[in-house]
Symmetry: C2
């Protein structure tokens, strides 16, 4: 127990149990698809630990108490239509059946079974009928071949080190289990910013290594994609152009794709960041993003490959003096006019908000605006702007708000979840992707609690309607089975309010940014105020906020009605997004009844108190906690408190100096 926090087992796939079982597991794995080997391995490494004895047979001997197989292999008549990834678990004749249409469904069914076993559910009470809401449940690694991870807060890259592949099979299998256990079915292994070394991942120099990884992940239902450099025809192909309408360029890509699929029949396709933050793209040739994406998609098409094309395209060399440009408009302005112009294996990848993964943003108006173009939503699991796995910030509540947001794109009740799942738009929604938060740290995510973000992402990607509280409890129960229930309850309650707490002591009322430039940790109110990144708060002695109304940048008009009008109107704009949409005086009264300035003071004082409360709660359990876990979390909490105090004081002082308005409650604001 002492080493729990520095142990790869210290996650929801732990083999510890709070309730020891007294049964034997007599498992029949009926069938011979490759996935059965995976399930057998999972059974031996995980499920078997919970039973007094385990035996696995490859046919139903009649003595087994759990039978796994496809409807076909079991000779049963398929009843529910759960697709290739769905599964059914039921008991019949005193035995438990895990049945699916295809082998990937069996894998997910087995994980469901494993979860219930961990949680102590009696064997014959396990019951499920599941299919994922989303086609793609993807993660994106921002890993570089030198072993660094862009925006990584959990140690070095899992895949790369020193310019090469780590090729650590045990680690890779553990990681594949981690991902597939929460239903993730696709991943990219390299950074969307594809630098020189990584541009060569598609060459014969590295393809065997990529193929090795792809095959390993495929055994867990995970399809491997690569991020590519749009300028590859030049940088590695020896051409003098990457113009998508040049035949030589299209031909070059066709040859590359043919070669890749020759090595990796299961290859998923490419992810591309083009014409964004100094990355090359079709704009260099006066071509559209559709031109660029379709050319690549055409090369992938014969092999069933997909092209993920990121919509994170904006002017990152904006002039802060230029008040006519609004970065928030960029994704919509670039891509909405191209709706319908993309090939059917192009999937646009849309960041959840119009800026960049701030603690609070409006939902991207591009989601809902695309009627005839495949797309996924992109979230950020890694806590770039939300505490960097030092501060606790459990993000599923944020994601849930986004997924539940009613875009009104096809009238009322057109939620983001229904759009991205394709339910509300005839299948153009293709699911979800997210920048992942994992690395070589023994606990995978730097902060033990941050694992819950990966867990929650998988759960919501599978079923966006799932109860948040159930997710949090399930994660805690599985991860810390050895802790008393009341301790797990504390952990869950900390997690559940942590996003709002983080928001309260950082940038106020949806304005975002105010972070230290570059690394993005800690406060710096003016850190991006005079930068070229389009990220401003426009605070002066009278007020603050960005005017995105019709009189301002008119960003509000990118939303369907009545959403746009709700944001346009000061009276109906939600408090938490007020400064994202409006420039208001410090004395403006929020719907909460507080003035903006008093809200800034109150939320920043409160945020620090909340972090202190986290620490007090943690301390109250000190005797019940293993020393290593206690210390691990305590050290993080201390750093979080220091960060929260610094945020509180810098933000409060900044706005006191600006506004000259005293705190109504006379608390300490440094002059």
């Amino acid at each position: 127990m002492e080493t729990v926090t520095t142990d790869r087992e210290a996650c929801w796939l732990t083999t510890e149990s709070s309730k020891p079982r007294t049964e034997k597991l007599l498992l029949s794995l009926v069938g011979d698809a490759p996935m059965f080997a995976t399930i057998r391995r999972l059974c031996q490494n995980h499920a078997a630990k919970f039973f007094v004895e385990t035996a696995i047979t490859d046919r139903d001997t009649g003595k087994s108490n759990v039978i796994i197989g496809t409807w076909t292999s079991l000779g049963k008549e398929s009843t529910p239509n759960l697709g290739s990834e769905g599964y059914t678990i039921f008991s019949e004749e005193g035995r438990l059946w895990i049945v699916a249409e295809e082998e990937r469904g069996l894998l997910y069914g087995f994980y469901h079974f494993l979860k219930e076993i961990q949680l102590g559910t009696p064997l014959l009470e396990i019951s499920a009928q599941e299919k994922p809401a989303n086609v793609f449940r993807m993660i994106n690694h921002w890993d570089n071949m030198d072993g660094s991870v862009e925006r990584g807060y959990a140690g070095r890259s899992l895949f790369f080190e020193g310019g090469s592949f780590t090729k650590d099979e045990d680690c890779m299998r553990s990681y594949a289990e981690l991902l597939s256990s929460v239903g993730i079915n696709a991943l990219t292994i390299n950074n969307v910013n594809v630098h020189e070394q990584e541009s060569a991942l598609i060459t014969n120099r590295w393809l065997p290594e990529v193929a090795w990884l792809a095959k390993l992940f495929q055994e867990y239902g995970l399809t491997l994609f690569l991020s590519i450099n749009y300028a590859s025809p030049i940088t590695i192909g020896g051409l003098d152009t990457a113009d998508p309408l040049e035949t030589s360029v299209a031909d070059w890509w066709e040859r590359q794709v043919e070669r890749i699929y020759g090595s990796i029949p299961s290859f998923g396709g490419f992810v591309v960041k083009a014409d964004s933050e100094h990355r090359p793209g079709p704009f260099s040739y006066g071509r559209t993003h559709a031109d660029g994406a379709n050319m690549l998609a055409k090369a992938l098409k014969p092999y069933g490959g997909h092209l993920f094309w990121r919509c994170f395209v904006y002017d990152c060399l904006q002039d802060w003096r230029d008040r006519s440009t609004d970065r928030a408009r960029a994704a919509y302005d670039h891509f909405a006019p191209l709706d319908g112009a993309f090939a059917d294996n192009v999937i646009l990848q849309i960041k959840s908000g119009p800026m960049d993964f701030q603690v609070r943003e409006a939902v991207s108006p591009l989601i809902g605006a695309l009627k005839q173009t495949k797309h996924v939503i992109e979230l950020q699991i890694t806590q770039e702007y939300t505490g960097q796995q030092i501060d606790v910030c459990y993000l599923p509540p944020q994601w849930k708000e986004i997924l539940d947001f009613d875009t009104h794109a096809n009238g009322k009740d057109t939620t983001v979840a229904d759009l991205v799942s394709g339910r509300a738009n005839g299948g153009f929604g293709q699911g979800m992707t997210a920048v992942v938060n994992t690395g070589r740290d023994e606990n995978w995510t730097g902060h033990s609690f941050a694992q819950a973000n990966l867990y929650g992402y998988g759960q919501l990607a599978w079923n966006p309607k799932r109860c948040l509280h159930a997710i949090a409890e399930e994660w805690a129960d599985r991860t810390y089975p050895y802790l008393p229930k009341n301790v797990r309850k504390t952990i869950v309650s900390i997690q559940e309010c942590s996003w709002i707490v983080y928001e309260s002591y950082t940038s106020p009322l949806g304005i975002g940014w105010m972070v230290n430039p570059g690394h993005h940790y800690g406060p710096n109110v003016n850190g991006y105020e005079f930068s070229p990144w389009g990220t401003y708060h426009f605070s002066d002695r009278n007020g603050l906020g960005v005017d995105r109304t019709r009189k301002g940048s008119n960003y509000v008009s990118q939303y369907a009605e009545p959403v746009g009008s709700r944001y346009e109107n000061l009276q109906t704009c939600p408090d938490e997004l007020l400064l994202f949409f409006h420039h208001v005086p410090y004395t403006h009264v929020l719907t909460s009844g507080k003035t903006v300035i008093q809200h800034i003071y109150d939320s920043h004082f409160d945020g620090v108190e909340q972090v202190k409360a986290f620490i007090a709660a943690w301390e109250s359990h000190k005797q019940e906690l293993p020393e290593a876990l206690y210390q691990h979390v305590r050290v993080k909490f201390d750093a979080q408190l220091a960060n929260a105090v610094e945020w509180r004081d810098q933000v409060n002082t900044y706005y006191y100096r600006m506004s000259g308005i005293e705190d109504k409650h006379g608390r300490t604001i440094y002059r």
Copy 2:
């Protein structure tokens, strides 16, 4: 002429001449000290280029027209008392005599002769009687063994690359000529921040290389010093302490010094940055700086070595919330109480201002406060905070103001120059040192004009009373002999106002900082406002500035009277230092008659116009300039203009947003 700006010759030691000579040079070098070989080499490589024919003999044949020798070697009776570095040049019996007491005087005399030759002075009209005002005329390199230069803007290190010495003899000799030609007589070759690699410079691994360099520089009258790591007994000595009062530590240093002098008899000693910006020092052991310095000085003493101990000691982990601590007080508070406690071969090294080489600071009150402790003033030639050799900023006017500053330390007319030269304090002043601005760039200093800062430093270190205008003209005449006089005049006039121009568009009225953290180039009004570095402007909606009066941090009381009172009093405090000493409202009226806010606006608008005027002047000479020089300077000017515009707009916008006060002249201030 095309490559003039990328040629090592493109400096004041150029062998081009505006006025070709028709004489022969028949030189007798009478004597055989090692320095004669140096002078012979200089004559061949430099002076000879100006004459139609040159012959050098090692005795006076009677036919020579220039004779160089000591009073002794020439068998003449010494008349003026010019010390070991002084010299006399006079004509007698139709021949020119360069005579000195010692060989170093001959070297400087020869450089004087060379300068006059370059400038076209007729041979027999050359006449001089010179001795340096300062004992030490030193420069400090902040070079690291990996080849990088801390705060270097002129390329890679001259001495180091890739963890080793460059050992490029030609380059080293050229560089030694450059330094000695302006009278510099001592240097450190490595960064005062002594990292792991450089800590080993005093070990046998590197001593042969150091010795090689020391010997080479010695040939040019330059004494080599090393920056050392105070914690060396631990980091390289294997001891578990660096406590200066531990016998084992003192013994260890004695053995090191003995070994060093065994290899390098001419070795100058050590420079130490201790207990400063995370460098180790005696504070770790509860010892004083005197304890630390004296222990090292004792080891150096038997060999005539000196210990330079930097007074740049302050709390770099200050809390911005703590208004009771004032970094400006630190050097005085640390060192004034120790006056008299240092060994006589310890030389305290005092930064010219109390902060850190800002464009405008008050003079350090520690200069004048030390009555019984040897010291030098430390300047910064490299333009860390003054444009980084992108913006033109000719610094001798700043240094001259500092040197001419009347500290009143021993009553009226106790100037800094007289203190640091020792004239006003019985020899405790030991001269000047400065962080140098040179590197491997072909023109030595990145910006061709920035050479003038090194030239001017040498001139003022030799003679602080020298006319600034003469220095600037002399530098331009020697460096650009091929340019028409009117072009040189333009260059001189740009140089002479460049410091004030730089000041006008950067941080106002002595407040300093407002730069981008880390690299220190470009504006960032709040860049250091909430940092731990003790560098604040305390701007709020009503006013700005740091209260260092008796009611504030009482820093003013560190000055002798009436200086302290002059700063204390709002009416007598000079405008240019107002915000360094006082927190005032934006509406405060300066002695200039302008309000503070209008001064901020005016100076920032004016600064940009001045840079435009520089460019216009340069353009007006385009036809007269060699293309390479034209382009080199034009590219720098364009970057300077962009920088000035950014400073103007960020500072003006920041203070407009803060104060809400309009510019009286209605110019564009972005909202």
